[in-house]
Symmetry: C2
DNA sequence: GTCTATAAAAGGATAGAC
DNA sequence: GTCTATCCTTTTATAGAC
């Protein structure tokens, strides 16, 4: 895969200059096609055209359609780790931190890219269960774990009354997904602009603050 | 479609005795195959085998794969209307009614049939947007509308403090879906038995009661 | 490694007999 | 209406030249 042939030094240099251009072209084209059409409706011919290479070139770099799909989707799942929950280590109030998390979460989870990725995960979870695991770990599970840690410190400081921090964190994100995320998944709603997102985040944080302000929960 | 030929009275009688057996066989087989494999992975040959008929018989009853798929999925969406929110016209407490609704909702929405149907709606919402509409209207939208009406009466009676009843109802169901529904969609979680469902319903109702017990919301 | 050409199979849809 | 046999397109994957 990384064996640079000695027979055509000029071509080898062209590859070395930006590190296997063809392979990156394939990945870029396949990412576009798979995210747009899903696994079944995407064809290797269409991917080859989108990448500007021939089909055989794809097969020289990947074992087949399944392997290419797994590589593409797995990479997109790993990217979910980046825009995580911002750390709230300052002296901001709980409500302020939750509101900031809410806005970031809504912006990320309702984005077109994210919605399309989740649609594909759901569509192909039978054929590629490992991808569902990767998505869940890198996305929802990671966000929940971070928020749970923060909520736990808030609970230990006596600011809120919750039982299981993980369950409390899951509830917060579930409230944020609300009805709009389901509609987005089904392609019903077009968009939610920043003002609407802020309003909804405010509504959820207000509701959540009341929910966790009460007596300790039995878990 | 319903024109019973006069040329073969015996066959015509066989059809009349239970009302077009072949058509029902096709629907049964297609329902099974489509819900199990989705649109793309299902083949007309496979459906014909599952139904115990020939391919041409399917084409005699339906215009093609698309029309058959739409008929099958649309019918399953219509069935969602049946197990709706139980009416709470008695003198039960708000909490009791919500708890009953929560249990019924969890049982229905987490069922294997319902999860598979929603997976297909999500997968094919690009090709069949009308089906997503049908699902949303018959399922989530219908449940929200019924709960919203109930919450509105509770608000007018001074029992709870909410802004938009529809938004309040959507929040309740979003809390119930929680994290578990997303996991089910991705095929990660196996099952939630009745005891676990009851515990989770209790947790959500408790949290929700606190959330709606506070001051009036700005919507 | 990369391309053109081709194999081999599967799937949607149709023809024609009964 | 129903079946068997067939057409035609699409699709994954491979062969062979350079």
């Amino acid at each position: 895969m990384d064996s640079r042939s000695e027979t055509h030094p000029i071509i080898a240099d062209a590859q070395a200059s930006n590190g296997s251009t063809k392979r990156q072209d394939i990945i870029a084209g396949a990412t576009d096609v798979f995210l747009r059409l899903g696994y079944g409706a995407a064809s290797m011919e269409g991917i080859a055209q989108a990448a500007g290479v021939s089909k055989q070139t794809i097969y020289a770099h990947f074992d087949g359609k399944d392997a290419l799909f797994e590589a593409i989707i797995h990479e997109k799942c790993d990217e979910l780790r980046i825009p995580a929950v911002p750390s709230g280590d300052t002296d901001e109030s709980l409500e302020t931190v939750l509101f900031r998390i809410a806005q970031a979460f809504l912006k990320s989870v309702l984005s077109r890219k994210n919605v399309r990725l989740f649609r594909i995960i759901v569509s192909e979870c039978g054929r590629f269960p490992e991808l569902a695991d990767a998505f869940y770990r890198s996305g929802p599970r990671s966000a929940v774990a971070q928020l749970a840690r923060y909520l736990e410190t808030a609970r230990d400081a006596g600011e809120i009354a919750i039982g299981d921090p993980v369950q409390a964190a899951e509830l917060f994100f579930a409230m944020l997904r609300g009805d709009i995320y389901m509609r987005r998944l089904m392609g019903i709603d077009t968009d939610m602009d920043e003002a609407e997102a802020a309003n909804y985040a405010r509504f959820v944080v207000d509701s959540y603050m009341r929910a966790v302000a009460g007596a300790t929960l039995a878990v």
